[in-house]
């Protein structure tokens, strides 16, 4: 496991980091938690000439609500999400996903933003963020923009991020006063990537679903937003028929491939079972 040689920068300000990216562009890579990038470099699947390590930049590890929405800074680790009381109390889908991602060692280093930028179709965070309607804040030396997670992902391991940009935070809209959320993941062992993952977020208004977010992991070329299932839930009451319909629509939205983890049919069925389980759980929680 010997990577090719590279030049290493550890800027202490975001401006310096952006300047380095402006200079080296395509030949440089941002290093956050390194839990995806470093394995790729060791296997020589990636061989950037320049590494811009952002871990020394102060003030990128905020995890807070501001004006009703959640901001997750670029250096917030998955383990921060796992331990945060704010996340536990207000963002149950995130709270459910965090401990299912890999193992404690990886979670202590891997960042939420890094996971989104890596765009692994088996990445769990992107599904949660799709379900919650999150956006990524991207900065370059010349400006800043916001991209919806759906527009960020451009295929397996490809994003619409520009080489001179750093993603500085995830921005998550208000989940609603009454909400339900969960993340269900089929894995072959603890620490495994998802064979199938399902993120569900529901903003509730009494008996009714006001807004629904459902997104799927590992069953397509990227994380999939199950739009039709979401629409079927919007405004509806969570009865068995609605749950069945939404679960079937979500399964149809999946586009899985047959591999050693299971056949396409199996994975699609798991999507259906998981969406059913999540929505039934929401219905019971509400009834209680």
């Amino acid at each position: 496991m010997f990577p090719r040689s590279f030049e290493y920068f550890a800027p202490t300000s975001i401006e310096d980091a952006l300047a380095l990216l402006a200079e080296h562009g395509e030949d440089a890579k941002v290093l956050a938690g390194g839990q995806s990038l470093i394995p790729l470099m060791k296997l020589r699947f990636a061989a950037p000439d320049y590494i811009v390590d952002i871990n020394r930049i102060q003030g990128l590890d905020y995890l807070e609500e501001q004006d009703g929405s959640l901001r997750i800074g670029a250096l917030v680790r998955t383990s921060d999400m796992e331990r945060s009381e704010l996340i536990a109390s207000r963002y149950p889908a995130m709270a459910a996903a965090a401990p299912l991602i890999s193992d404690p060692v990886v979670r202590n280093l891997g960042t939420v933003v890094g996971s989104l930028c890596h765009a692994d179709p088996q990445g769990d965070w992107a599904s949660v963020m799709l379900a919650m309607g999150a956006e990524l804040v991207c900065r370059s030396a010349t400006g800043e923009r916001r991209v919806a997670i759906g527009d960020l992902i451009d295929g397996p391991f490809t994003t619409t991020l520009e080489p001179n940009e750093i993603a500085t935070e995830v921005h998550v809209p208000d989940p609603g006063a009454h909400s339900f959320g969960t993340y269900l993941k089929l894995e072959r062992k603890v620490g495994d990537f998802a064979s199938v993952g399902v993120a569900v977020h529901l903003a509730l208004d009494g008996d009714r679903v006001e807004r629904a977010g459902i997104a799927l992991t590992a069953v397509g070329a990227g994380n999939i937003k199950a739009k039709e299932a979401e629409d079927a839930l919007a405004g509806a009451v969570l009865d068995d028929a609605t749950i069945d319909r939404a679960a079937s629509l979500a399964a149809e939205a999946a586009d899985p491939k047959t591999d050693l983890r299971g056949s396409a049919d199996y994975k699609r069925e798991i999507v259906r079972v998981f969406v059913t389980r999540a929505l039934s759980q929401a219905a019971t929680a509400k009834a209680a």
Partner: protein, 786 residues
């Protein structure tokens, strides 16, 4: 001098492992920790194709890179007659490819450089042209008439068949089947798995041009045998070859064979005149070194209407990869697979085995399985379970009815094994009792009524370990004895030198306990040395659960020899006749006068300071122990699993393991071995497989795809024992390192199948992934709907 009463019983004591002090401090010394002056580093270029003609290799750019010392190719090795080497089964294997590559990951060239980074940079500069050939991944297709011949390098090889081998009596078996009331059959694939030791393979070859001495630090479970093979392959004089296996981070059979990396590093050191280190990476280890299993098995069991077994018919096709490189006794083509009659008094059996070449890595090492006993045990225990279902009998009772009974030992099986001892029913009963088997069955019924799936699986395995008697057992002609040399120093401390080699099994403790038990020198005063061929007596190494049956027996025997000599010295110092002395744990005393005594430490001192005239000084000895028979550990495992009816996921609820390995020297170490084996059995049954796609791409060459269970999903194990001493082992011990790997996979598989019985499911091949369990349930439900 009077001796105070103290603890002198060292057998059966869970002495803390002496070696753990350095391991828990991170102070172990593994091959990669060894650094020699002027040491160079080697990296291997591997083939991306599973089958292709090598049309050209251009190494010029790699050679021109700063810091590269040499690039070694097959052509260069061929000039020294080193391009091919023998396997442990007497086949040949390429060191570096010359004509073709025959599996993905095959070694094509090596770079030797000043550091490993440069070596890996240079690998990218080697230009190889391949001309792809049709790939064979299915061993059944491999034996088709029109299949391309993989080993066209071998003169006279016209197809891909390696061997056809039979055991047992065909006619008697045919007759048994003609007279049968019930015949059950099972087709199953025991998938290719990999031992995946935590430490990958590594070596440092140091051919010293000044002294002519070749020192090789190597991750080897069998350093002495390797020395001899090296001498034969390279033509170097054997007295000038020293193999040193320092601490080894797990072997499980993976570190028995000779690998190309060892040979090239040695050749490179010889050519360059500097030490060359090669440390394998994980992908290299998983993709190219000794895999395990990969048996396609067909079994048929004939019974009468009362459930008495009449005969067993087995057909087995072994997928060997491109070379027949099993590590096993040369007499037996499919290892000891023909012990497939298991724990049962089988009147007739016939076993037909075939080996086929495919475009996969060679190996076939016995991953904790004593020469293919794992596959055999799996097949018979799966078959017996299915027979019980077919006959509507309780699986435990069908087993009980057919067990070899205690009074039948020594029992000669129809395929030629002489079982030394056993009491199978006792182990079964204890397992049933401890697992609450009957209650589990009642609960299963209740749960099924609620639509929940509980499955209960049994396995009553018998193993054959401790190879072995020289009349039957050899590796490449070298008989499978083992040795011990014991030197007691003047101050009463001892060094024990062994031909076996621990890879984590705790030899430094267990064997010291044997010396303590036989000679009364406390374990802390006995240092156990292994692994350095210049400083230990010749032996065949550690695998196949053989260390205690062979090296352990040798230790007991040599200790007893020294005790005899000690007695004469004691008689001399106490001024009595040897016949007047009695031995008690750690001292001799004069019969009838217990206060006239002398400790073993005093005797040791006398052996160097005051030995009798006419006797040789010193208290040292060496023994080569040729075991009279194998040992036959056994046991019964009960596993209960819950299956998710919607997703096919399953969780283990109960594992109760009753093991009988005869006398336990260190129970804690024995239990550690059993827990490790139960974990590996769980891994194989649930998640592990080295799979290949149609093009022969290896789909299991990293730990993302080849799964090792963590503490999280590993079940809780409840262990129990019965004790049936081996009648021929000097201490009554049997091997135990592999019992649980051998016995447990069938128990897990039987449990999962048992949960789905009502759906008509009778088989799910391992690994029983949630997807496969779900498919089986789907098929069962569909069949029932029709």
């Amino acid at each position: 001098m009077a001796v105070e009463e103290k603890e002198i019983e060292w057998l059966g004591k869970s002495v803390k492992r002496k070696e753990d002090d350095r391991f828990v401090r991170g102070a172990g010394n593994y091959v990669d920790d060894v650094v020699l002056p002027n040491m160079l580093h080697m990296a291997i270029l591997r083939s991306p194709f599973a089958h292709a003609r090598l049309t050209s290799i251009d190494t010029s750019a790699a050679e021109a890179l700063d810091g590269v010392v040499a690039v070694v190719t097959g052509a260069l090795l061929a000039e020294h007659n080193l391009a091919w080497m023998p396997t442990l089964s007497g086949d040949t294997q390429a060191v570096l490819a010359t004509d073709k590559v025959r599996f993905q990951g095959q070694e094509v060239a090596c770079v030797v450089a000043e550091n490993p980074y440069i070596a890996h940079d240079a690998l990218e500069l080697i230009e190889v042209e391949y001309d792809p050939l049709p790939v064979i991944v299915d061993p059944k297709k491999s034996l088709d008439d029109d299949a391309p011949v993989i080993r066209n390098d071998k003169e006279g090889q016209k197809d891909n068949r390696i061997y056809h081998w039979e055991a047992g009596d065909k006619e008697a078996t045919d007759r048994a089947f003609e007279g049968a009331d019930v015949v059950v059959s099972l087709d199953t694939h025991y998938p290719r798995s990999h031992p995946a030791p935590l430490e990958c393979c590594a070596c440092i070859a140091d051919v010293n041009p000044g002294t002519g001495k070749t020192t090789i630090y190597m991750t080897s479970q069998a350093p002495h045998a390797i020395r001899t093979v090296f001498a034969m392959v390279t033509g170097l004089p054997e007295q000038n070859i020293q193999i040193i296996s320092p601490d080894i981070g797990g072997g499980f059979g993976n570190k028995v064979p000779v690998y190309p990396g060892y040979v090239v590093a040695t050749a490179a050191s010889l050519l360059i005149g500097q030490p060359v280190k090669w440390t394998e990476d994980r992908s290299g280890n998983l993709a190219s070194t000794g895999f395990a299993r990969d048996f396609h098995m067909h079994g048929e069991l004939a019974l009468d209407r009362d459930g008495k077994m009449l005969g067993l018919r087995v057909g087995m096709l072994s997928d060997q990869g491109y070379a027949y490189a099993d590590a096993q006794p040369s007499k037996f083509k499919a290892g000891l697979f023909h012990i497939v009659t298991g724990s049962y008094d089988m009147p007739a059996a016939h076993v037909v085995t075939d080996g086929a070449y495919t475009n996969k890595a060679p190996g076939g090492v016995a991953y904790r399985c004593s020469f293919r006993v794992t596959e055999a045990s799996f097949l018979i225990e799966r078959l017996v379970q299915n027979a019980a279902y077919e006959m509507d009998m309780e699986p435990a009772e069908l087993r009980r009815k057919n067990f070899i009974r205690p009074e039948q030992f020594p029992y000669t099986s129809v395929t030629g094994f002489i079982y030394d001892s056993g009491d199978y029913e006792k182990a079964l009963d204890l397992a049933l009792e401890k697992s609450g088997y009957n209650e589990l069955r009642a609960e299963q019924k209740r749960m099924r009524d609620e639509g929940k799936l509980l499955g209960i699986g049994l396995a009553s395995f018998t193993e054959v370990v401790g190879a072995g008697p020289s009349r039957d057992y050899d590796i490449l002609g070298i008989k499978m004895f083992d040795s011990a040399e014991l030197r007691v120093h003047p101050t009463g401390k001892a060094i024990l030198k062994l031909g076996v080699k621990s890879q984590g099994q705790g030899h430094e403790t267990t064997f010291a306990q044997i010396v303590a038990s036989e000679l009364g020198i406390p374990p802390d005063d006995v240092t156990v040395q292994e692994g350095d061929t210049d400083n230990t007596p010749y032996g065949l190494g550690t695998y196949a659960s053989r260390s205690t049956p062979t090296g352990g027996a040798a230790t007991a025997v040599v200790a007893r020899k020294l005790r005899e000599k000690a007695k004469e010295i004691a008689a001399h110092t106490l001024e009595v006749a040897p016949e007047d002395l009695e031995w008690k744990g750690d001292h001799f005393f004069v019969k009838g006068a217990p206060d006239q005594s002398t400790t073993i430490q005093e005797v040791a001192f006398a052996a160097y300071t005051n030995h009798p005239q006419g006797m040789e000084a010193g208290l040292e000895g060496v023994t080569y122990y040729d075991p009279p028979n194998m040992t036959y550990p056994f046991g019964t495992y009960v596993v209960a699993v819950e299956v998710d009816a919607k997703t096919g996921e399953w969780k283990v609820r109960t594992v109760v393991a009753v093991d009988d390995c005869g006398i336990r020297i260190n129970p804690m170490i024995v239990e550690g071995q059993i827990m490790g084996g139960l974990t590996e059995g769980f891994a194989m049954s649930s998640m592990q497989q080295i799979a290949f796609d149609e093009e022969g791409n290896c789909l299991g060459s990293n730990f993302m795809d080849y799964l090792l269970p963590t503490a999280w999903e590993t079940p809780h194990f409840e262990l129990h024992e019965t004790v049936t001493p081996s009648p021929h082992h000097p201490m009554g011990c049997k091997g135990v390192g592999e019992s649980a790997t051998v016995g447990s996979p069938a128990a897990y598989a039987n449990a999962v199948v048992d949960a789905l019985l009502h759906l008509g499911v009778r088989n799910i091949d391992m690994p029983m992934t949630s997807a496969k369990v779900w498919e089986a349930m789907q098929q069962g439900r569909q069949a029932q709907d029709q």
